[in-house]
Subunit: 360 residues, 2 copies
Amino acid sequence: MRRNVHIGSLGIGPSYPVRVESMLKTPLSVDRELWLREIDDLAAAGCELVRVAFPDMALGEQLVSLVKDSRIPVMADIHFNFALAMASIEAGCPAIRINPGNMGSREKLQNFAAFARKHGVVVRVGSNSGSIPESKIREADMDEAAALADSVGDQVRLLQETGLEDIIISAKSTSPRVTARANEFLARDYDHPLHIGITESGYGERGIVKSACGLSLLLGKGIGDTIRVSLTEPSINEVRIGRLILQSLEIRRSYPDLVSCPGCGRRRVDVQDLVRLIEPALDRLPPDLTVAVMGCEVNGPGEAAHADIGVAGTATGAVVFSRGKVLQRCSLEDTGKAVIAVFESLAEEISGSGKGEPLR
Amino acid sequence: MRRNVHIGSLGIGPSYPVRVESMLKTPLSVDRELWLREIDDLAAAGCELVRVAFPDMALGEQLVSLVKDSRIPVMADIHFNFALAMASIEAGCPAIRINPGNMGSREKLQNFAAFARKHGVVVRVGSNSGSIPESKIREADMDEAAALADSVGDQVRLLQETGLEDIIISAKSTSPRVTARANEFLARDYDHPLHIGITESGYGERGIVKSACGLSLLLGKGIGDTIRVSLTEPSINEVRIGRLILQSLEIRRSYPDLVSCPGCGRRRVDVQDLVRLIEPALDRLPPDLTVAVMGCEVNGPGEAAHADIGVAGTATGAVVFSRGKVLQRCSLEDTGKAVIAVFESLAEEISGSGKGEPLR
């Protein structure tokens, strides 16, 4: 049985939903308003933990401010520096990512671990395939996935030797297959929660497909406690795609359930066009709703009488209905707005049925 | 061991690459030029088999013409009608999708099967979860995946009883999990090639993520001989996403391998911006190429000396190089065009190294 860890009040591990993470793309060195806005947007999109690079002691005040103002827990990302790792804890970060082999000495690592334990800080360790020495792969005659898992194992043992227990581990590669195999080794050999993701998966369709494929290989086997989709895109896209992946795999529901009729001779509107028109509105509704999109007013509201909110095409636009009752008529262009308006007027009545977890 | 089938010269099964299919969105009833263009575009994008709805005997001539002019094999899609099934074979279709329970009678099914065998026609059968009677699920006390697989099994047995052997089977649901489990049952129980996909997966990010997740659950276990990504989008997008899924899972390579440097203080250009600028060109290059995108001219061409084609940022734009030698300077905006020009000038020399399979 894998363990749980707690980053502040955020539980990560087998007792909790798979978490969705991202990383701040705005550097701490720029205007505070900019990264505050990014963190707010991330939190609103459903991000539950945000990692931030802390590369310079001169940015200590900014880190303190970020930790204080962020609505979600902040994990400091430290590459090589003992002093930065200690400063992150002092700044109040509830989680830190380090490379325990880069803390300078065993003694410093021991000091860091003691300080982390004292403050209840969760430490993430792990490797990317890019950072594994070729020599390691050759020497051990290992394949890339085994070498990656082995390299992560070295870090985990270094940290375990300090007595620290609240550890998250990760092994990432640009290859979904290599990432999947490496994490299968880690899930077999360690009981710490696993952070999973595909590094440098790119942007747009390439990045989305690569991430969805790689994460599915693992999540389909029940491996992975917290995910990050790394895209060369605004960070909120990482969160949205991450949540869509969890929703597609029926692991976690973040968006309303959408049902639509297949369309027939009676339809007054292309059902697929109608879905497109209301999709932006869909994302603003709580995930426990069922939303129906039907081709015609004659049968639509009746057939979709179970829907919390429904839309059906008419000769001149659309009607919005709720549990079988038509509530509003509108033009096609205004369907999205009308759906939101109907939802708001009915919010207390139709929301909170407890099937999902409201995000916003 | 699963069997192979052959649709004309297109092999499908364990001895062949996983095939990429789509379905013609232009109805046969509209102008011939339109569906010819769609099929040409599909073939150019890497579609290997195209399904087309044949709902009406009045469209017989159009089907003959389509089969004759298409560069890729055509599978006729017949829902309920014995006469249409027979007419599709007469029209020269090398493959037909039918529901053997809907051919009118055992005798008609037998006649159809004999005619199909005589013409070497491959027959696909299968169910979508939407078409399984609720009663079947309740009666048998089965979960949805088992009921889906069972319903497909009924069809396969009907067809097997006719002596027909060249069968492709499919079980699709809107749920990736249900689709995956149903196909695991089918892979265990039957030795016919499996066509896999998620029905009505939607459009845009939702559809792409759902399809990538669902197909990964199966392809990751080695299940699936031919795929269709069903998107509410132009059919060539289905092919592109299908091929990206196979590429991401390292099952089949359709696009050049892209390597890029992580960027450093010396970079003259944002490497990710540069990747975006050349991506449209990337898709026009053969898949056996390695393309490098590097941040600076100082180290780029040398570090990426193994790349067939590379691009590096300069103070005023970019350089395009091949195997370490700078060949052309250009503005950033013209990088894509310059990559294609360099490729064309070197095509004989750098292509055809045999690592991949050229598509276009």
